[in-house]
């Protein structure tokens, strides 16, 4: 069960990157598939689910037993936990907030978005910064998992 949730967490990370990419493509006018608000909502829902599954896995990651991932990483490569994992843990909390702001802007301007390219360009700035942060957090989460995974 726990391993399934950890794997689901990884899959949701990929879904989030794809959904954010879809939102960026819609805002750039490079995709005709679906709606921009649909892409933004998909990003927000996947970010919230990613957050919930990550928080659940974290309970087992941080157990004080010698065999838990946190203990193994702190013993072998302390910087991987102290810098990479903790960056993902705390900076990752603001990702759903950033996506919620982009979604609010997309929903509120939905009619103007279709015909106003500069408006899409301005909202894209939030989406691009979010994608950049999500990719950094994905790397920061992948490295600890490759040393010791929650299962």
């Amino acid at each position: 069960m726990l391993f399934a949730i950890t794997v689901l967490h990884g899959i949701l990370g990929l879904v989030l990157i794809a959904a954010l990419g879809w939102t960026a493509l819609k805002l750039a006018g490079l995709s005709t598939w679906g709606s921009t608000s649909g892409a933004a909502w998909a990003s927000l829902i996947s970010a919230l689910l990613l957050n919930i599954t990550g928080s659940y896995s974290y309970i087992f990651y941080r157990l004080r037993d010698p065999g838990t991932p946190r203990s193994i990483i702190l013993e072998t490569e302390p910087w991987v936990h102290r810098i990479l994992f903790e960056s993902m843990e705390y900076v990752g909390l603001i990702i759903p907030i950033m996506i919620a702001v982009a979604t609010a802007a997309i929903v509120i301007y939905r009619r103007q978005l279709l015909e106003t390219i500069p408006l899409r360009g301005q909202i894209s700035r939030i989406v691009y910064i979010t994608i950049f942060l999500v990719l950094l957090m994905a790397i920061a989460g992948f490295i600890p998992s490759s040393i010791a995974m929650v299962k």
Binding site: S55, W79, E89, Y90, I108, I123
Partner: protein, 109 residues
């Protein structure tokens, strides 16, 4: 100005509540070990992360709701580019405060 899009109060509420919440989350992370340890340790299995998660999102949502009802009647509260710049600066500040609390010395161990 052609690219100067007016931000209605409902969207300004989203920008403002999110900016404040991100900075407050950064402050909570920074003070998690010493000052706020007992307040943030609401669920022992999650350590201080549980409190940062709960209080951070609670502050964000409550602020958003309060500001939404306070500002929703305003048709224009400045330009979109100004609000986006404000939000990006607040986000970077929140991230920097968070990163400042990490144990960077472990990189050289």
């Amino acid at each position: 100005m052609k690219n100067n899009f007016a931000v209605p109060g409902s969207l300004a509420a989203a920008f403002l509540s999110s900016s404040i919440a991100i900075i407050l989350m950064g402050v909570m992370v920074y003070l998690r070990e010493e000052v706020l340890n007992s307040i943030l340790g609401i669920y022992p299995a999650l350590g201080t992360f549980g409190g940062i998660w709960l209080y951070g999102y609670l502050i964000w949502l409550v602020l958003w709701i309060v500001l939404y009802f306070a500002l929703r009647g305003r048709a224009s509260m400045g330009s979109l580019s100004t609000w986006i710049n404000f939000f990006v600066v607040a986000t970077l500040l929140g991230i920097l405060i968070t990163l400042a609390s990490l144990e960077w010395n472990t990189l050289f161990q």
